[in-house]
């Protein structure tokens, strides 16, 4: 059973979003997603300063058995990327919700957060897979 923290928002493409309360969010991939991928070997990070539309592909996460695109959960500008993942991609497996975060965005519209899945809805989705 995977861990799905109640304080986060989720997408149906298995990203999580943490509201930092200042118009920015932190995002990563869920515990369920890292389990499904298996040992992560590489994370292609977005460039800081890049503007993203909601749903836009912004990177790739690779394991030994799969390579999955990362999608922007919300529109915004990349303000930080987790460069520690370049040398230690396994952090995504070990700590998907904390040290394994992938990027931080400055949201174009803070209200858009409400449109994402809550923990309960995501749990249902993850269960169905």
């Amino acid at each position: 059973m995977s861990n799905i923290p109640a304080n986060l928002r989720y997408t149906d493409s298995h990203e999580w979003v943490l509201d930092n309360g200042d118009g920015t969010v932190t995002l990563g991939i869920t515990d369920h997603a890292q389990q499904a991928l298996g040992d992560v070997v590489f994370v292609e990070l977005p460039e800081v300063g890049r503007g993203l539309d909601a749903g836009e592909e912004f990177g790739v996460i690779e394991s030994v058995k799969a390579a999955s695109d990362l999608y922007a959960p919300l529109a915004g500008e990349v303000i930080e990327a987790n460069e520690a993942l370049e040398d230690a991609p396994e952090t995504v497996n070990e700590s998907p919700y904390e040290d394994g975060w992938i990027a931080k965005l400055k949201l174009a519209d803070a209200g858009a957060l409400e449109g994402l899945l809550d923990a309960e809805a995501y749990a249902k989705l993850a269960d169905a897979e």
Binding site: D39, V41, F42, E47, E62, V64, A66, A67, P89
Partner: protein, 964 residues
């Protein structure tokens, strides 16, 4: 004994090859049929192949010839080729393949019958060979990373263009710059690719590069007529403008020229043919593809990397497999699958054998001879188009007609430019005597020059064609592998040592589903190194290639009869390239009909990943058609999607029999649905081995198919290439297949660009398929198909009692392969398909195909070439493994310490003083009687994939590693 009354016609043994190729004897066939409870092969075929598509006659082919007769006939064809002294250049050069490499690698089934090294524990030999290749490329180009080969220089350049676009995210432009002195065949292929990617091409002099707003650029080094540009200012100016650069460089010239990596190139591509691989009328040869470290995660093709095994020892493997098309499908970096492993190995060994010192001598000799020629021409007052060169001169203002006349007399081929200039490219095989002849040809016999005197003048005078700024200063091939094997004895042992690490068809059946690992008969292989086939330049005059052209015509006629199509395009170099060529032909045809807006390609969810990757490259939108519970195309879904996309429906790509190994009953209907909506039908020929002589895709609805000659038609897999993927097309598509800019093809529209560098792809391996068909005849080919189906059904029957078999057709039969489902077992025991694959190595077998087309399964394809003895040996191993799994299920062996998860077992395991396992060493390494009688040892323990992909190292391991 009674007097034998058979007549000579029967005793002559014209059809003797059939029983050499087909494994099962008459009594084997009887036993297998009995096991299946079927009264004859005919009944099995009736139960398996739908009546609606069955061919109701024997193929119309010549009666079979014996091996001796076929070789004799082929020799007569070969003699119609004329091996003239060739100085045409343009990316193809004469070379001396060292005999020790020719006999021990190119002509050695231990090397050429192996498969792509997906199972690294039993492929360490060729993985090391390919690592040598990568190291050679990296050192000579000065780049940080190289892949393990691509199909040819032209497609490598096209991949370079695509990589520039992918990686250069900041560039807004959609245009790509190509220097006007890029090889014409490269430009031809790049143009085709650019058109379907939607890129604009700007072709202009290299010096103008920075004047254009482009995302990337392709430069040739040296240029096609021999000129050496100083790349440094060009690449620097491009970099300043945010343009990514791809340099197509001649590998031999890089021995003496500054390496492009040192000058700032992002990508370097080229051909390694002149490193010991015969020209072969265009191929096969290994192209190389090298990049900066920054681009390592986007590099197309296969890359060999260094990892470690379960004991912590160094082990090699293919790295970063997840970017390949079988996982990424339409999002893959490229559709490339088959590469040129055998030829890359040869080029790598050429570098190992000669080392830096030997290569310097060869390159210096080539350059010296060229400089002597330039000096003589200068003294004679003959003008050269440029005053820099490595091995190629372009004579200008000459009487080309006169030169041509003298060249014909001396049986010398030169390059004749449209503007009357004459080109000369020297190579490794050129001698001082050859130069004397060239003097006569180029200047007339009264020239009065002596090569020896000129050599003296050039050597003493320090005369060189290489501009001072472009002379190489850095070392290369400093790794011990390039110093240790310089004597033939050391080289011979090195090659044998590597060969012995690898499992090939010389050891056991390789039951890889979808790969058709059948016999690659020795007599089929013999002709490829005949000089009349090996030493022909792809752009040699037509009157020197008559034997080749007739052999190709005959092979095309055989394939037309076998497939039911009306024309064969022999250009594509692999199945994936055939897919691309076929889809491009469809798009060109539709454009000519005013239907160019059709761009939707329907692809069943069960398709091989290359299908969507190829469709994406042809700028098509992939729409997935679902499969039903039996694994067949869901016809209702197909109908709905064809209707929904009716106006824009371009094509469907389907595989027959399906990738699930089933003859789908509805295939004819599926084709009709697509045709009704104005679409074309592409039938993937990967599984043609289940159809030859029984059904023809051209008859049941196909408009185009590729044929993997390296599967169904006996070209060996070479450890990951070469391959050939010619396409068969219906008449309406024939004008739209690939043409060729240097050697135009009859019946094809002039503006149909090429998909590969040579007009007939890898022509020198076509005699293999020709000989196979010639020696089998119609009856032999049909029997081969029938026995491939019988063997697969026998395996499905025997293994079906121990493992679930997925997807059977009507009457419960499979086609030529079967899928064994490991998922329930994994659920129950934790033992995975990978554990079984590795455990099979202990039993002396290569694993079946893992997790394709269904994750968690094994797909087994025995082919017709395996005898009942070998098939039973394999089934016994699988059944014994099932018993071992039962001991894990029962708890007798822990899930994390049993012979399956510990597999494969190596000699290091047996020698280990600490054997803390609940089973004996003997059970680990000698689990069957067959293995006790003759053991093949995996060279390393289970390879750590995660470590290799996290810590990507793609160079020969450091000297310190060797000191361990």
């Amino acid at each position: 004994m009674a007097h034998d009354t058979r007549r000579l016609a029967e005793l002559a043994g014209h059809d003797a090859f059939i029983q050499r190729h087909n494994g099962p004897r008459a009594e084997d066939i009887a036993r297998m049929l009995e096991t299946l409870g079927v009264d004859g092969v005919d009944s099995l075929i009736e139960q398996t192949v739908p009546a609606a598509i069955r061919l109701d006659r024997e193929l119309d082919l010549d009666p079979p010839k014996s091996e001796a007769e076929a070789l004799d006939y082929l020799k007569r064809l070969a003699r119609q080729n004329k091996v003239h002294k060739t100085y045409i250049g343009q990316g193809y050069y004469n070379t001396h393949l060292p005999a020790v490499i020719q006999r021990n690698v190119l002509e050695n089934p231990g090397w050429y019958t192996a498969y792509t090294p997906y199972q690294p524990e039993i492929a360490q030999g060729r993985l090391e060979g390919l690592l040598n290749f990568q190291q050679t490329v990296m050192d000579l180009t000065g780049m940080e990373l190289a892949n393990a080969s691509l199909l040819d220089e032209a497609t490598a350049a096209a991949e370079g263009m695509a990589l520039c676009k992918r990686a250069n995210k900041k560039a807004k432009s959609n245009a790509f710059f190509v220097a006007d002195d890029v090889l014409p065949q490269t430009l031809d292929v790049v143009r085709t690719r650019a058109y379907y990617f939607g890129f604009e091409l700007i072709v202009a002099p290299a010096a103008e590069l920075a004047d254009h707003d482009v995302f990337g650029a392709l430069l040739q080094y040296p240029g096609q007529s021999g000129e050496i540009h100083d790349l440094a200012p060009l690449l620097a100016a491009a970099k300043a403008k945010g343009i990514m650069t791809c340099v197509a460089a001649d590998l031999m010239s890089l021995v003496l020229l500054t390496e492009p990596g040192a000058l700032g190139a992002d990508i370097v591509v080229g051909n390694t043919q002149r490193f010991g691989v015969p020209m072969g009328f265009g191929g096969p040869h290994a192209a190389y593809f090298a990049t900066t470290d920054k681009l390592k995660r986007s590099i197309p093709g296969r890359i060999i990397g260094v990892s470690r095994d379960a004991r912590g020892n160094q082990a090699l493997r293919m790295a970063m497999q997840t970017r390949e098309q079988h996982i990424r499908r339409e999002k893959a970096t490229s559709n490339i699958c088959t590469a040129q492993a055998l030829l890359a190995n040869i080029a790598g060994f050429y570098a190992v054998y000669h080392g830096a010192e030997g290569l310097r001598t060869i390159a210096t000799r080539i350059h010296r001879l060229t400089t002597i020629l330039a000096e003589a021409l200068a003294r004679k007052g003959i003008a050269l188009a440029h005053d820099s060169w490595f091995d190629t001169l372009r004579l200008t203002g000459v009487d080309a007609g006169k030169i041509h006349g003298r060249a014909m007399t001396h049986e010398v081929n030169l390059r004749y430019f449209a503007d009357g200039d004459v080109g000369v490219s020297l190579d490794e095989t050129t001698t001082a005597h050859d130069l004397d002849v060239l003097f006569d040809v180029l200047m007339g016999e009264e020239h009065g020059f002596s090569v020896t005197a000129l050599d003296e003048a050039v050597a003493e005078g320090g005369i060189s064609g290489i501009p001072a700024a472009c002379r190489r200063e850095s070392d290369f091939l400093t790794h011990p592998n390039f110093r240790r094997y310089r004597s033939e004895t050391e080289m011979l042992r090195y090659l044998k040592r590597l060969e012995n690490k690898d499992l090939s068809l010389t050891h056991a059946m390789i039951p890889l589903g979808s790969c058709t690992m059948k016999l690659n008969a020795t007599s089929e292989m013999v002709p490829i190194t005949w000089p009349e086939f090996a030493n022909i330049h792809p752009f040699a005059p037509k009157d020197q290639t008559a034997g080749y052209l007739q052999m190709i015509d005959e092979l095309a006629a055989f394939l037309v009869e076998i497939t039911g199509y009306e024309h064969i395009s022999m250009q594509p170099n692999s199945g994936a390239q055939g897919e691309y060529a076929g889809l491009v032909a469809i798009r060109r045809y539709q454009a000519a009909q005013g239907q160019g807006h059709r761009d939707v390609c329907l692809i069943p969810s069960s398709a091989h990943g290359t299908n969507p990757a190829s469709a994406a490259m042809a700028h098509m939108k992939v729409v997935v058609v679902e499969c039903d519970a039996d694994g067949n195309i869901d016809l209702a879904d197909l109908r709905a999607k064809a209707e929904q996309h009716g106006d824009v429906l371009s094509a469907i790509m389907l595989t027959y029999p399906s990738t699930h190994g089933v003859f789908e009953e509805g295939v004819r209907e599926a084709c009709e649905i697509v045709h009704q909506h104005g679409g074309q039908v592409y039938i993937d020929g990967a599984n043609m081995n289940a159809q030859v002589g029984l059904a023809r895709p051209g008859d049941f609805g196909g408009d185009v198919s590729h044929l993997n000659l390296h599967k169904t038609f006996c070209i060996p897999h070479g450890g990951g290439g070469p391959g050939m993927g010619p396409i068969g097309v219906k008449a309406h598509l024939a004008p739209y297949v690939s043409n060729h800019v240097v050697t135009p093809l009859p019946g094809v529209e002039a503006d149909c660009g090429a998909v590969s560098a040579a007009a007939f792809g890898s022509a020198s391996i076509l005699p293999i398929s020709w000989a196979y068909i010639k020696m089998m005849g119609a009856r032999g080919l049909r029997q081969a198909t029938e026995l491939a189906i019988l063997n697969a059904n026998y395996i499905a029957k025997r293994l079906g009692e121990h493992y679930p078999v997925l997807y059977r057709g009507r009457n419960g039969t499979v086609a030529h392969e079967c899928i064994i489902d490991i998922r329930p077992l994994k659920e129950a025991s934790g033992i995975s398909e990978e554990d079984i694959a590795k455990r099979l190595m202990d039993y002396g077998f290569h694993a079946p195909t893992m997790s394709f087309p269904v994750p968690g399964t094994l797909m087994v394809e025995p082919t017709e070439s395996e005898s009942l003895y070998e098939i039973d040996r394999f089934c016994d191993a699988m059944i014994s493994i099932r018993d071992e799994i039962a001991r894990v299920e029962s708890g007798e062996w822990p899930a994390d310490n049993n012979p399956l998860v510990q597999a494969p077992h190596t000699q290091a395991d047996l020698m280990d003083g600490h054997w803390e396992r609940p089973y004996s060493r003997e059970l680990g390494a000698f689990p069957s009687e067959a293995v006790k009688a003759g053991k093949y040892w995996p060279a390393v323990n289970r390879v750590d994939n995660v470590h290799g992909d996290r810590h990507l190292i793609c160079t020969c391991p450091s000297i310190n590693e060797y000191r361990d």
